[in-house]
């Protein structure tokens, strides 16, 4: 599948960019709590040197000019306006993934956070997804290490500051691979949601855990499953436990489907090097109206659903449906404020009701060994979940360590307890880390 190329000029020449298909949702739904912001952190072995990180941010940001944009509002759509502004370098707050003043003129849409030995990047989803943000962070870390006097010989997997900027890096992958006349995916019934009471604002709480990868791999190999398949199954199994503990029978009968949203990095499925959003979802589910499932049964279902759901033909149906909506002449001529209200209403009624949980796996961090030696660990804090889903989960693997973070906006930690207890009972050591 080659797809049609869209952008042909550099951002400096064009001066602005259309939002990619996935980004179009976020300006309409984002708020002080539902910030649509995610964080990726690198824990270095030494404290961060301010002067070096400042210089590194300047160099790296010039390599990623399509991130030097702010959100502008047109008559029909929001757009990204090139402004050459560097991201702010700030210190961490108590709560991660704080909102951006994205609708402020010339406001950058990503920030660099520095504290002690930690370098974090926080991106708003309007700009890019975890894949794009990780490329930026890797490039930033490389530049920072060079500036602090380290020598890195191998540069495989790093977008070097001096490397040429390809036009395809800022393309809208969704539009490129859109195919007309693809049948839309089937309709989904509303999913069951965790019955927890929400926290007072600011709601987000992060529970950080470290999992022994070696032991986890031994375990998953025994089941002939991947880490993602295994952990998604644990997610569903933990949700089922809470479902069974719930007393309100009426609610349970109404909504008996437990469904998890698992983002898929489309760059790995299709030949695109875009640095903007390019992920879609697979939605593994179990229907509890059919009965209670054992863990092994769930794993079998998840294994099948993740493999068939992530198949390019199947997932392409979501892509074509989403781009199809955007291309509809009726939707295109609607003024922006009406469009925003409509998107927000549809999201509240349908989007946020479709899944019971979210699990993002950013995969294994691949960086040169010389860089690996300077870094302790990586961490991903997921975007704050909406008030239906309440808990989201993100993970990343670095060396023999899997970091799993739960973003929770409810008062209960019962879900995390069930999830991590399942792992420890299966013989995988889990360490809960201090919440900074």
């Amino acid at each position: 599948m080659k797809g049609k190329r869209i952008e042909t000029k550099s951002i400096q020449e064009i001066g602005w960019l259309k939002l990619d298909n996935a980004a179009k949702l976020f300006p309409a739904i984002m708020s002080g709590e539902l910030t649509s912001v995610f964080r990726i952190t690198a824990f270095l072995k030494k404290p961060v040197r301010f002067s070096a990180i400042k210089e590194a941010v300047g160099i790296t940001s010039r390599r990623f000019p399509y991130f030097s944009v702010s959100l502008g509002s047109g008559l029909f759509w929001y757009y990204l306006e090139y402004n050459q502004k560097l991201p702010r370098i700030q210190t961490e707050e108590k709560i991660p993934c704080t909102a951006f003043a994205a609708k402020r003129k010339n406001e950058p849409l990503y920030r660099i956070l520095v504290k002690e030995n930690r370098i974090s990047v926080e991106f708003i989803h309007i700009l890019t997804d975890g894949g794009g943000a990780f490329e930026y962070l890797k490039s930033l870390l490389y530049t920072y290490f060079i500036l602090t006097g380290n020598t890195i010989h191998s540069t495989e997997g790093i977008m070097l500051p001096e490397s040429p900027i390809a036009e395809e890096e800022m393309e809208d992958g969704y539009k490129r691979f859109f195919r007309k006349n693809t049948p839309p995916p089937g309709k989904l019934i509303k999913a069951w949601h965790l019955p927890f009471i929400l926290n007072e604002k600011p709601r987000l709480n992060v529970i950080r855990s470290e999992i022994d990868l070696k032991k986890l791999l031994e375990l998953t190999r025994g089941y002939n499953a991947t880490v993602t398949e295994y952990l998604v199954s644990v997610y569903l199994y933990s949700l089922q436990k809470i479902y069974l503990e719930e007393k309100e029978e009426v609610k349970k009968q109404k909504r008996g489907v437990l469904r998890i949203e698992v983002p898929v990095n489309m760059r790995k499925k299709l030949p695109s090097i875009t640095m903007r959003n390019f992920s879609l979802f697979v939605l593994p589910e179990i229907d509890l109206r059919l009965g209670i499932y054992s863990f092994e049964e769930i794993l079998k279902i998840v294994n099948y659903q993740l493999q068939t759901g992530a198949d390019i033909k199947q997932i392409g149906r979501f892509l074509s449906q989403n781009v199809g909506h955007e291309k509809s002449p009726f939707i295109r001529v609607l003024p922006l404020f009406i469009k925003s209200m409509a998107i927000s209403a549809v999201y509240r009624r349908l989007g946020s009701n479709q899944c019971s949980g979210i699990m993002t796996n950013l995969g294994v961090v691949k960086i040169p060994e010389e860089m690996e030696d300077l870094i302790d660990s990586f961490e991903v804090v997921p975007t704050p979940p909406n008030t239906h889903v309440k808990i989201s989960c993100a993970m990343v693997t670095f060396r023999n360590q899997l970091r799993l973070d739960f973003g929770n906006i409810s008062r209960s930690t019962r879900f995390e307890m069930h999830f991590l207890k399942h792992l420890t009972e299966a013989g995988v050591p889990v360490k809960i880390l201090i919440n900074n």
């Binding site: 404290p47 301010f50 400042k54 700030q90 704080t98 909102a99 520095v114 002690e116």
Partner: protein, 234 residues
């Protein structure tokens, strides 16, 4: 090399404060400092909201000023003197001052409420002055406006101090409203006939009382503190 005691980052030797959090290091010269409003990500959001309020204030100022000019010119051209435009101009100015208080003294209720009271009293006093020979300001305008602001102040204070804002606040608001109606009728009767005869306000109070009781019952017994914002959200 020195370290910021707050952020823990390594700083250059000539820095006197941390550029990330503003924490003072206590050295000789400054080479890198940020605007204080940019130390934390959430400061930007607050600054943005303040800017937006200022833009609304400026825009409404231009619209109000244009309205005053248009009303005054039209009135003067048609009648060769100023008549109805005095009322229109005074109303526009009062409305704009009230909006200014809400936007610029954002959520500072101890400034907003007395400021609005003074503005409205001045507006009513001027209305009274523009329409001789009827003198209604001291008889009705002043006491009823003060009663209304006392009622608003009571509800605002309860709203601020209440741990759980739900139907309980709505019930108290209804009760305060019925009290306001009684006070208003007393002053209206006194102004019109010099004789107090409470009628309609008593009917309002008697009708409101059961509603308030039902709301209190819902709040404390049935809904166990249901929040107003989530209950009424669109």
């Amino acid at each position: 090399m020195s370290y910021c005691a707050n952020c823990g980052v390594e700083l250059d030797k000539d820095l006197i404060s941390c550029p990330l959090c503003g924490f003072s290091i206590g050295k000789a010269t400054v080479s890198e400092t940020n605007n204080h409003s940019e130390y934390y990500p959430s400061d930007i959001i607050l600054a943005h909201k303040k800017e937006s309020r200022r833009h609304i204030w400026e825009l409404t100022g231009i619209i109000s000023f244009s309205g005053i000019v248009v009303c005054t010119i039209v009135d003067f051209v048609i009648h060769k003197s100023l008549g109805w435009s005095l009322f229109a101009d005074t109303s526009i100015i009062a409305a704009w001052i009230c909006l200014t208080l809400v936007l610029l003294a954002f959520r500072k209720y101890f400034i907003i409420i007395p400021g609005m009271l003074l503005t409205i009293l001045t507006m009513l006093f001027l209305f009274d002055l523009f329409s001789p020979p009827v003198n209604w300001f001291y008889g009705i305008g002043l006491p009823v406006t003060i009663a209304l602001f006392v009622a608003i102040s009571i509800i605002t204070i309860l709203w601020k101090v209440a741990h759980f804002r739900g139907f309980n606040i709505l019930a108290i608001a209804f009760l305060v409203l019925s009290g306001f109606c009684i006070v208003s009728e007393v002053f209206i009767d006194k102004y019109l006939s010099d004789k107090v005869d409470i009628r309609w306000s008593a009917i309002v109070a008697v009708s409101i009382l059961p509603i308030a009781l039902v709301l209190l019952f819902i709040h404390y017994r049935m809904k166990k503190g249901k929040r107003l914002d989530s209950y009424f959200h669109l």
